[in-house]
């Protein structure tokens, strides 16, 4: 159990059976008055935010979260199948919980799966992944439109802007934190 005095930015607690992370915290105490612990929290499943003020003596259940390294296997209907690298246990994660991570899933990709009470609530992919371009218009030499990027579709179906010199079949690196093109993989 945490008490109000343990509250701080980044702490994860359970409220109404859902995990919340504290995004803002401040301690207030009007002259000679009681201590007030003011928080803003984000629901780690829905992303909704909550403002709450607590008093000393209040207690909180920690959010029992677990990070597990897993390998992507395949997609089936509207969920994704992963395997735990150490136990070989397989789990299914819904498209909602995947978030943007679904844009980068290629076979055997290693990801961090965040579980709350045994249920997957989020997937972290590596910051950079290499994906093959499956469709993009050729670069027309002498193009004077002035455009310095063009759309490209990668093997996962994800579409992003790439520099004009990128051709179909090339491997590119994507920064998964921004979803943007990072560099071309030579060779």
């Amino acid at each position: 159990m945490y008490t109000a005095a343990d509250l701080r930015k980044g702490l994860k607690i359970t409220i109404d059976n859902e995990p919340y992370i504290i995004t803002h915290f401040d301690f207030a105490k009007p002259g000679k008055g009681q201590a007030l612990y003011r928080t803003k929290m984000k629901n780690m499943i829905t992303g909704s935010t909550l403002d709450r003020t607590y008093r000393s003596g209040e207690t909180f259940e920690p959010a029992s979260l677990e990070d597990r390294v897993m390998q992507y296997l395949y997609k089936e209907d509207d969920h994704y199948c992963f395997m735990d690298n150490s136990t070989f246990e397989q789990i299914h994660i819904s498209e909602d919980a995947m978030g943007d991570a679904k844009n980068y899933l290629i076979d055997n990709l290693q990801v961090d799966v965040l579980l709350f009470r045994e249920k997957a609530i989020g997937v972290d992919v590596p910051n950079f992944v290499n994906l093959r371009v499956v469709q993009t218009d050729p670069w027309v030499k002498g193009d004077t439109s002035g455009s310095d990027s063009k759309p490209a579709t990668v093997e996962t179906g994800y579409v992003l802007r790439v520099p004009p010199f990128i051709e179909e079949g090339e491997l590119i690196t994507i920064d998964t934190r921004t979803g943007e093109y990072s560099t071309r993989v030579k060779g």
């Binding site: 005095a5 401040d26 301690f27 002259g31 000679k32 008055g33 009681q34 201590a35 007030l36 003011r38």
Partner: protein
Amino acid sequence: MFFHEKGYLEVETPFRIPAPAPEAQIDAIPSDGWFLQTSPELCMKRLLAAGYPRIFQICRCWRDGERGTRHLSEFTMLEWYRAQADYRVLMDETEELIRAASGADTITYRGVEIDLSNPWERITVRDAFLRYAGTTAEAALAAGTFDELMVDRIEPRLGIGRPTFIYDYPASCSALARLRADDPTVAERFELYLGGLEIANAFSELIDPVEQRARFEAEAAERARHGKHGYPVPEKFLAALAEMPEAAGIALGLDRLVMVLLDAESIDDVVAFTTEEL
């Protein structure tokens, strides 16, 4: 310099004391069976009782569990006490001190201009609740929302444009202050705010040892009700109170004043090391 010119004597009193004032909402840090002072108040009042009529001190104080953008559990306090004065005299003297410390007519804190040159705002706690919180202070106390309304609704409106003295606190919020003779529901206590930030707390001192003992007992009962540890009764202070002249005293958070003068967002910005950095 400010204090020397006014005939104040600088004093030093021990940081580690056997019995802090047993206030309901202030927790002292234990130190080998005694406590680190939460304020030099009791020792300084004993000096008043011993015959020193004007004294001041800049010292470290400790309050357990107080940590935030405006709080450090170890912080620097400026306290001064003046015999034959009441809290209104201290309001005037505080105005003079802040003007002298700032060296300017106007200060800007977090984008808010505070004009020090014109008369400062003086508002009672009663009026502040009616104006900003839409309720009475009595109703808020009864509902247990006094402190929350103070923090959420009232404090952000104080000391904006010009400094604010908010005064005449409910008697139950003022364990060591004298009650108003013409209205014993309130105590002669004030707080100074600059830019929404609480800077100082002051009052006309309670000098009746019998009433002070009863107030301490009430505070101790309140601590027990919240499951907080008790403190020994400060008997030597209570004994000295009988000798103490009429007086007023003020505690000013020096780190907070520096925050305002330097336009610092956090108290962390005005100290060399925070607790977490040690």
